[in-house]
């Protein structure tokens, strides 16, 4: 399920969505309300269904997992959130012991006796993770624990046969005392700490789930800095400050340039700052942009087609800068790629043909045309910001070189494309995706390779990949956590269709290295294995790596402490709005 989950971002980014246009409504300028936007409708407010980034944006402010990322430090660094400290890991890597902070209260709710939130205990995690695993709930987040925790998969099966319930103990999940949680793994899983920073694993109170039942999705009760206030369907969700939230403070260290950028001015101040957050649901690019320009939204990412008017060279256009708007660029751990189906009789057996295609694909022009130059050429599946990425690494088949491409095509047995049947490129039927497919078609035409474009809806497209029916297709992956493993698993032999390895790449050496790396903690040895795997991918060319995209955000001058990274989800507690400055700058808009 990880597959659809993260790709969704890409699809919605591209796809042509007929949507309800909602208008933003100003709540109040006095109390430092943050007005933000999500570009797809929110599904519901339950951590086990926080699979898409839009829903997660809201859920992650109400619910909190054990760990989180440091707000300012880069590369991303894990730190405790509900945990009192980073977990103790046994020598064999199989036992992880978490100490939980004392005195953490669930938000007040009628589900608790007297309506007063009770203290969070270790048992709450066990209950919540069983809920995530329960097949009757059909959460798409179970992959984070699938096959990893002792007894959890067995419990899952027993529940289906009605031989177990939520009171049945699980060998791998033990509450040693109310504040100590011990996790026993089936085999070393060093990505565990990353998944414990994902909203899927946030604790929910059993009382509330049992009280609200299927309505729990609309009555969230978490431990987070904000609690649910109201939801106008297809329009906006409002959260308000949780008055009972524990003491937590703004970080006092970050990257060297953070001080100059004013990101450390609030160091040591109590969180959260804003009284209220309003998430507006605005699907279409233009209303989103215009609402930002009118000051109804505090920050947005710049739509592709407004980019030229907003950014000049590397900085913000003077017209926007004059209005106090500022720009923030963040490189996302993401990779776009063109995948070959290795089970295809023509492409699967012919590495020279794949290399020829790779050499004839002009990524720099693609980046210029489709991402406004807002991306860097990808030379391997590993994106910047994750362990194993080497900025100096050059994929020899990634240079745009038609002469070399023609040589490889001749070596492949198809000089000038002669004898090669028409190839099929699958994509989704949105204007940008179609234009990108046409671009691929044009690039291949230069080699004499004929390409037919097959476009379909997003579900049809993913089905086609899952069933191994797509010959060549273009897609993207946004990482779940900052570890190359999350990208290399897209090529692991154990994940072939219908799994996330849609190119059906199977290489014994690669799989052996992957399995070895998954048993290693972060460190030079694991990084070396990642790079060896990368070299195999480059030599075998099951993909043409495309680009690592960058996000360009613009924010109004009244928004303080704004530093975006798509993996940090609980960032609203750090944001502060200056109401005086807002009034002043809004007059200029």
């Amino acid at each position: 399920m990880i597959f659809c989950r993260r790709l969704l971002t890409f699809a919605l980014g591209l796809s042509f969505v007929f949507g309800h246009l909602s208008c933003t409504r100003r709540v109040s300028d006095q109390d430092g309300t943050i007005n933000t936007v999500v570009s797809a409708n929110i599904k519901g407010l339950d951590p086990i269904f926080s699979s898409d980034v839009y829903t997660n944006a809201v859920v992650a402010q109400i619910y909190e997992p054990l760990l989180t990322y440091h707000y300012l430090k880069r590369p991303l660094t894990l730190q405790p959130l509900l945990a009192a400290e980073m977990p103790k890991v046994s020598e064999d890597g199989l036992t992880h012991t978490f100490k939980i902070k004392k005195g953490i209260q669930f938000q007040d709710n009628p589900a608790f006796p007297g309506g007063k939130g009770r203290e969070l205990v270790a048992e709450d995690f066990i209950y919540s993770w069983k809920r995530l695993a329960d097949p009757r709930n059909q959460s798409d987040g179970f992959w984070v624990f699938d096959g990893r925790i002792k007894g959890l998969n067995e419990w899952r099966e027993a529940v289906l046969k009605e031989e177990a319930d939520y009171d049945t103990p699980i060998a791998g999940l033990v509450a040693k005392d109310p504040y100590t949680l011990e996790i026993q793994l089936t085999r070393p899983y060093y990505q565990l700490h990353y998944v414990l920073a994902m909203t899927y694993t946030a604790p929910v109170p059993r009382e509330a789930v049992e009280r609200y039942k299927e309505e729990f999705i609309n009555n969230p009760v978490g431990t987070g800095p904000y609690r649910f206030d109201s939801w106008v369907r297809n329009s906006r969700v409002t959260l308000v400050k949780n008055p009972n939230w524990r003491e937590e403070f703004y970080p006092s260290e970050g990257e060297p340039e953070d001080r100059a950028r004013g990101l450390l001015e609030d160091a040591g101040q109590a969180l959260p700052f804003a009284e209220r957050i309003v998430f507006h649901e605005i699907i279409e690019d233009q209303p989103r942009w215009l609402n930002f320009m009118r000051g109804n939204l505090d920050f947005v990412d710049i739509p592709k087609d407004n980019f030229e008017s907003a950014v000049v060279g590397d900085s913000l256009s003077p017209q926007l800068a004059e209005k106090g708007i500022f720009l923030q660029v963040s490189t996302e751990p993401d990779v776009t790629y063109t995948a070959f189906n290795m089970k295809d009789p023509i492409l699967g057996q012919n590495v020279n043909l794949r290399k020829a295609i790779s050499l004839a694909y002009d990524t720099e022009t693609l980046i210029e045309r489709f991402y406004n130059g807002r991306a860097i050429v990808a030379h391997s599946p590993i994106p910047p910001g994750v362990d194993g990425y080497d900025p100096g690494f050059r994929n020899p088949y990634k240079e745009y070189n038609l002469e070399k491409a023609k040589e490889y095509l001749a070596k492949a047995g198809f000089p000038e494309g002669q004898g090669l049947p028409e190839l099929e490129f699958s994509t989704i039927s949105s204007p940008t995706a179609r234009q990108m497919a046409e671009y691929f078609q044009q690039n291949m035409a230069q080699l004499g390779i004929r390409v037919r474009i097959s476009s379909s809806s997003w579900p049809q497209f993913t089905n086609k990949i899952r069933e191994g029916q797509a010959q060549i297709y273009g897609i993207a992956w946004l990482g779940d956590y900052p570890d190359a493993e999350n990208f290399l698993q897209l090529l692991y032999g154990g994940n072939v269709s219908p799994g996330p390895n849609g190119s059906n790449f199977q290489n014994e050496e690669f799989d052996r290295l992957y399995e070895r790396a998954s048993r290693l903690p972060a460190g030079p040895e694991r990084t070396r294995l990642y790079q060896q795997m990368r070299d195999i991918v480059v030599a075998q060319a099951p993909w043409v790596p495309g680009a690592h995209r960058q996000s360009y955000y613009v924010a109004h001058g009244w928004l303080k402490n704004f530093k975006r990274n798509s993996m940090i989800q609980d960032y609203f507690k750090y944001l502060r709005v200056d109401p005086k400055k807002r009034a002043e700058l809004k007059a200029k808009l």
Binding site: Q286, T365, S454
Partner: protein
């Protein structure tokens, strides 16, 4: 009285009379001229005589404004917009002619059988077209296009298989009327077969209706092609089409690129306007109740 004063009977036929009437309508003649211009344009484009560079990509010149070199500017890949719009007329006209042709063949055949034979055949055909008619046509077209995937052939079939209903109804009513007429009874008396009575006797007598319907359905077919291509269910990506150009324009307009939209809608506007005007004039010309001069 000389013989020459009596015009030959053929010259007084409905068709001859209609043609004379049409020739006196300047608007109709201009419209016909425009339609013929489009047909000529499509033929010359598909023969590779003009606008041969419609697929020529120039990545150094994306989104160029209209200039002497590119009268209607260039698109995202630096291709000439005028050339692409001109080639779009091949798609539109071919969908118009083939799709409408198919719809009329189906409609005429079923309508003729139902009206002529009546009874169970009639019940069956009426039941069938009523059922098809209850489904909104755009949904039917979209679902057909969805099943078969985007291609020109899909468009022909989608339009052909959905647009026959109203035509079928009219043909059926005409056949119901005509089968009782004396000339058909006369044909029966001299031993003409069913086939002969349907196709040789009755059909030519209702042909003017088929012609009017053709021009009506044609306009809807052209519009449907544009709508389907806009929705990504029309022609294959890469094939020039007005719908596809309008779809691209959604992304281009915020950049201030208006020429793609202007070219596609302009080409479509004049073709549809010409067809509609010509259609009105044709209907009037072929109206038996119009006073003959």
């Amino acid at each position: 009285m000389s013989q020459s004063q009596k015009p030959p009977a053929r010259r007084n036929s409905l068709w001859w009379d209609a043609l004379r009437h049409l020739r006196r309508q300047p608007l109709a003649m201009v419209s016909l001229g425009v339609i013929l211009f489009y047909v000529g344009l499509a033929l010359l484009c598909s023969a590779g005589v003009i606008f041969t560079d419609y697929a020529l990509v120039d990545h150094n010149r994306p989104y160029q404004e209209p200039s002497w070199e590119n009268w209607l500017g260039t698109d995202i890949f630096g291709r000439d917009v005028l050339a692409r719009a001109a080639h779009g007329s091949i798609t539109s006209l071919s969908v118009g002619f083939v799709g409408t042709g198919l719809a009329l063949v189906i409609g005429t055949l079923l309508g003729a059988l139902a009206g002529y034979f009546g009874g169970r055949t009639d019940d069956l055909v009426v039941w069938f077209y009523t059922t098809v008619d209850t489904i909104p046509y755009i949904l039917l077209v979209v679902s057909l296009a969805f099943i078969m995937g985007p291609s020109l052939q899909t468009l022909y079939l989608a339009i052909g298989l959905t647009f026959w209903v109203s035509h079928c109804r009219i043909v059926r009513a005409e056949f119901l009327k005509h089968r009782e007429r004396d000339y058909v009874q006369g044909a029966l008396a001299v031993g003409a077969s069913h086939w002969r009575r349907i196709f040789i006797h009755i059909l030519p007598n209702i042909f003017h209706l088929i012609l009017i319907n053709f021009s009506l359905v044609f306009v809807t077919a052209v519009k449907s092609e544009v709508i389907l291509s806009f929705l990504g269910l029309g022609v294959e990506p890469g094939v020039p089409s007005w719908g596809m150009m309008i779809n691209d324009a959604r992304l281009e307009l915020p950049r201030g690129v208006w020429w793609g939209l202007a070219a596609a809608t302009g080409f479509m506007f004049f073709l549809i306007l010409a067809f509609n005007l010509f259609n009105d004039a044709l209907r009037e010309a072929l109206d038996p109740k119009r006073s003959r001069v």
